[in-house]
């Protein structure tokens, strides 16, 4: 019981922290938030084969029961992928910071200088 409670609370806390950080305006907290989300999902994937302790990961007649090895393989895949993705987004946010001079994630879709109709109305005057 206590084990399940600990895992569930842990996954919930990690997800909550991740979600909060993702909603911030700066790139660094967003990247950290994405990492927290991926930690949450990694822990979550472990529990999806049900929590079993002190059991071998293969079916053995001498032992009672077994622990499911497949989630661990899935977690490994997920860790590798999110690790690569995190590296990519760190580099990207660094380059965006260096090129634009700030680390704000907002994007003005139509900035002043390219607002359409502006030069047209001026021309027609």
């Amino acid at each position: 019981m206590s084990m399940e409670f600990l895992m569930a609370t842990g996954v919930g806390a990690l997800t909550a922290v991740g979600l909060y950080l993702i909603l911030l305006r700066r790139t660094f907290p967003v990247v950290v938030g994405l990492s927290f989300l991926s930690y949450a999902v990694n822990v979550f994937l472990f529990t999806m084969g049900r929590l079993t302790i002190d059991r071998p990961p293969i079916i053995d007649a001498a032992q009672q029961g077994y622990t499911d090895p497949l989630p661990q393989a899935l977690v490994l895949t997920a860790i590798v992928i999110t690790f690569g993705m995190t590296a990519l987004i760190v580099v990207l946010s660094l380059r965006a910071f260096l090129e634009t001079g700030n680390d704000d994630v907002t994007l003005d879709v139509t900035p002043e200088d390219e607002a359409p109709g502006k030069d047209r109305t001026e021309a027609s005057r």
């Binding site: 989300l37 999902v41 899935l74 895949t77 993705m85 380059r95 965006a96 994007l107």
Partner: protein, 507 residues
């Protein structure tokens, strides 16, 4: 029935991309030759597989010869073959359109392009849910590189949005896969389809949560409202050939919706039967309406194309949400034509841009106005859904499929009124670009006609015209495809029987 050729659409781009990165990184000319040859080869394989799949038999390929529920299996059915053929056609056009101008703007365009094809083809072929996640990641990683291709601050910030939303999407996909595995103990799609109806009552809420989380992932990929907002920013900031290639990516989302919610959570899924349909249909209608409003409000040609893509995804989602056999066939027909027309529109928007990037305000007058206006006119007709081009036939088929359903009172007005509004939006934009003279004082510098993209756009228009001309034959194939989709038992037996024959030969 196993078929070794099924691995080719995955293996060819994988090896080509690695070869391009490792051996040909310094020679753009050699890269182009290899990339075009590999894309042509993929198109040829896709045509061959389409012809093979058109006998209605399902073919499988067991990776590493591991039997079906334990190893990963690639499955070729009519739907996968159709999507492969569409990808092959689109990719051959885009690789030619990117030659000369856009593949010089940054390094590794062709390698990234092949990696993207690897992910897209793999996603269409795989018969395993976790493997679908992996192929999604492959196509996304490649698309991150392609999206940033050419650089620039705006592209970087938009790229951050795009990567961020997709990383969140990947996390949700993992949560969903975890829940589904926890409830069923398998991630093989055929095995899932067999086991989902048998899940105990205690586990059903878990499985339903997994199924609907999966819906949010595919909704993000297919730009379903309210998860559509990333698309105009991302596609509007990238280079035209890449945006044209991305037109197939929303269809990967639509494909996954069709695959998962007909095979695993389809009509025969017991208590969870058609779990997503009540969400997809209204979301599709809202997507269509919001996309249309976006078209009316668009201030740049690229934005217009992006929002028309969202509107066409809305129409497609409506057809998927109707879930009937006729609706699925109509959905695929509409998806084929809207992908090709959308890609051509992205390429055209790139040609209308004055200089470096794809941004263009309506004040600019193009040099080849007559030719481009002709293209724009035909593509607008195809996208909006006016006769005689395929968009009209597609929408007509969807309306006809909606006639039988109880949803007629919402589906018909939504599609008909938005078609009118889309016509107004495209007409207004066309008038602004081609008829109102440029207020800019100096004429833009004379440029040579970009033969590649022009020829490719013309070719894509020919494809759309061919789709309308041979609509009867195409619809016969697609109806057979929908029929195959609606009988998941054939998929299940084809995948799980592959294991039996393998064991017999192995012993």
């Amino acid at each position: 029935m196993t078929n070794p050729w099924i691995i080719a659409p995955v293996a060819v781009p994988a090896m080509t991309a690695a070869f391009l990165v490792l051996a040909l990184r310094h020679s753009l000319a050699a890269q182009r030759v290899v990339s075009i040859a590999a894309t042509a080869l993929q198109l040829a394989v896709a045509i061959g597989l389409y012809i093979a799949a058109s006998d209605g038999e399902l073919r499988t390929y067991l990776l590493g010869n591991w039997p079906a529920p334990f190893g990963i299996v690639l499955v070729l059915d009519r739907l996968a073959a159709t999507m492969l053929l569409l990808t092959g056609l689109l990719a051959s056009g885009i690789v030619l359109a990117a030659l000369g101008e856009w593949d010089k703007r940054g390094r590794h365009f062709h390698a990234l392009f092949q990696f993207q094809l690897l992910g897209v083809n793999g996603a269409f072929l795989t018969g395993d849910l976790f493997n679908l996640f992996v192929f999604f990641e492959v196509l996304l990683i490649a698309s991150y590189g392609l999206m940033l291709h050419g650089g620039g601050p705006r592209r970087l910030v938009a790229g951050f949005h795009y990567i961020g939303i997709n990383l969140i999407g990947s996390t949700v996909f993992l949560f969903a896969a975890g829940l589904i595995y926890a409830a069923t103990g398998t991630l093989n799609m055929a095995d899932l389809a067999a086991k989902v109806p048998l899940v105990t009552e205690a586990n059903q809420p878990l499985l339903a949560a997994g199924a609907l989380l999966l819906l949010t992932v595919f909704a993000t990929k297919s730009a379903m409202v309210p998860l559509h907002w990333w698309l105009p920013t991302a596609y509007g900031s990238t280079s035209p050939p890449v945006a044209a290639m991305f037109a197939i990516m929303t269809k990967v989302g639509a494909y996954s919706l069709i695959r998962v919610y007909t095979l695993i959570f389809g009509a025969s899924a017991g208590p969870l039967a058609d779990i997503a349909a009540p969400w997809i249909l209204p979301a599709g209608i809202v997507t269509l309406v919001l996309g249309t409003i976006g078209v009316l409000a668009a201030r740049r040609v690229v934005d217009l194309v992006c929002y028309s893509l969202i509107a066409s995804m809305g129409t497609l989602l409506i057809a998927i949400g109707l879930t009937s056999e006729a609706a699925l066939a109509a959905a695929m027909y509409y998806a084929l034509q809207s992908t090709v027309a959308g890609a051509a529109l992205f390429l055209l928007a790139g040609l209308l841009a004055p200089e470096k990037d794809s941004r263009v305000s309506f004040a600019w007058r193009p040099q080849y106005a007559t030719l481009f206006a002709g293209f724009y006119f035909l593509l607008a007709i195809a996208t909006v859904g006016l006769p005689p081009l395929a968009g009209f036939i597609g929408k007509l088929l969807i309306l006809d499929a909606g006639r039988a359903a109880s949803a007629m009172a919402t589906v018909w007005p939504a599609i008909l009124i938005t078609s009118l509004l889309l016509t107004i939006g495209f007409t207004r934009t066309g008038m602004h670009i081609f008829w109102i003279p440029s207020p800019t004082p100096e004429e833009p510098a004379q440029r040579a006609v970009p033969i590649g993209p022009v020829a490719v756009i013309a070719g894509m228009i020919v494809v759309v015209a061919a789709l309308s001309l041979f609509a009867g034959a195409v619809m016969n194939d697609l109806t057979a495809m929908a029929e195959q989709l609606r009988s998941p038992q054939r998929y299940i037996t084809a995948v799980l029987r592959a294991q039996v024959t393998l064991n017999l030969t192995g012993e």
